[in-house]
């Protein structure tokens, strides 16, 4: 356990040194805030861009607050996932390429310690970024569109973070497989997109796919009750994360032994 904490702390220090603790939360705040603001100012933006006939009138209905928060979530599902994938692509593969991983692993550190500590450190970073980002989005939504209960925000945060943890797990698995960070980043995004596509195609069977998380969160926000499928999805996602991590430890061990 002490070893685990040491590796974890080393990772945290690394994130301070390469400023991840600043730029990742900042990006999440910006992603969360752009949608409430641009939706709010949409009439003015259209007016100032111009190019419309003089007497054209637009009635843009103000979306309900829940919809605005969902817009921010869909930003995280697209650009947020991209940022997570790009930020974590060199996590293990980069260290193996540069030889830093060997420096750590000559010490009697278990492969599982190394992999899980890395996963946990990235997840903490992503979780805190999501928290500040969603808080910012929530603040602006409350200010400009109307109230969303804090409890609803917490539920959103709780369930949505699972999706990002799932992305981190995929990235960790690919990190243990390949030594090229760029390839890892690309394949991570590809796999995440694939998850969404497969879920869309087999919508009627895959009720519990992690890609369904945000549509269930939408139900939570609009209807105020947690649908039963969400619990199933939660269990499946957690199991998937555990499975991906176990697989990563095995592949990492196999690659390093070879």
């Amino acid at each position: 356990m002490r070893q685990w904490i040491t590796v974890f702390n080393r990772e945290m220090l690394e994130y301070w040194r390469n400023f991840k603790w600043i730029w990742v939360p900042v990006i999440f705040i910006l992603l969360g805030v752009t949608d409430p603001l641009s939706t709010y100012y949409l009439p003015q933006i259209i007016e100032s861009v111009g190019g419309l006939p003089e007497d054209a009138t637009f009635d843009i209905p103000t979306p309900p607050p829940a919809d605005v928060l969902m817009m921010s979530l869909s930003q995280y599902s697209q650009l947020g996932v991209l940022v997570v994938a790009l930020m974590s692509m060199g996590l293990i593969s980069g260290e193996r390429k540069s030889g830093a991983a060997e420096l750590v692993l000559v010490k009697p550190i278990r492969y599982s310690t190394y992999v899980t500590a890395k996963w946990a450190a990235t997840s903490v970073l992503v979780l805190l970024s999501l928290i500040v980002g969603l808080l910012a989005s929530w603040y602006y939504t409350n200010l400009l569109f109307g109230e969303i209960a804090f409890g609803d925000l917490l539920l959103t945060l709780l369930f949505y973070s699972l999706w990002l943890f799932y992305v981190v797990s995929i990235s960790i698995l690919l990190n243990t497989m390949f030594k090229t960070p760029g390839l890892v980043g690309f394949l991570t995004i590809l796999l995440v997109i694939l998850t969404s596509i497969v879920t869309n195609i087999f919508d009627h069977i895959l009720d519990w796919s992690p890609a369904q998380l945000s549509s269930y969160i939408n139900i939570v926000l609009t209807e105020g009750a947690i649908p039963n499928e969400l619990w199933g999805t939660t269990v499946v996602t957690v199991l998937l994360i555990v499975g991906l991590l176990t697989l990563s430890i095995y592949t990492f061990r196999a690659r390093e032994m070879a």
Binding site: W23, L30, S48, L86
Partner: protein, 67 residues
């Protein structure tokens, strides 16, 4: 355009500008401290300064060389 500037509530926009500045300043500090970047160092200075928001992010993801 002038009217537009008056209708905007600057209290709403100011935090974003501040955040964007924080991002740019940290990128600049890091840029000044490293010796090598991926690609020409001067190029990254222009990217950080000229591309809003995206520039510093691009620098952090692709420009830093960690070895």
């Amino acid at each position: 355009m002038a009217e537009l500037f008056e209708t905007i509530n600057w209290g709403l926009i100011a935090p974003i500008i501040v955040i964007q500045l924080i991002l740019m300043v940290t990128a600049l500090i890091d840029w000044a401290r490293t010796e090598n970047t991926n690609g020409p160092k001067m190029m990254w200075l222009f990217i950080i300064l000229l591309l809003n928001i995206i520039g510093p992010i691009l620098y952090f993801i692709f420009g830093r060389r960690n070895d």
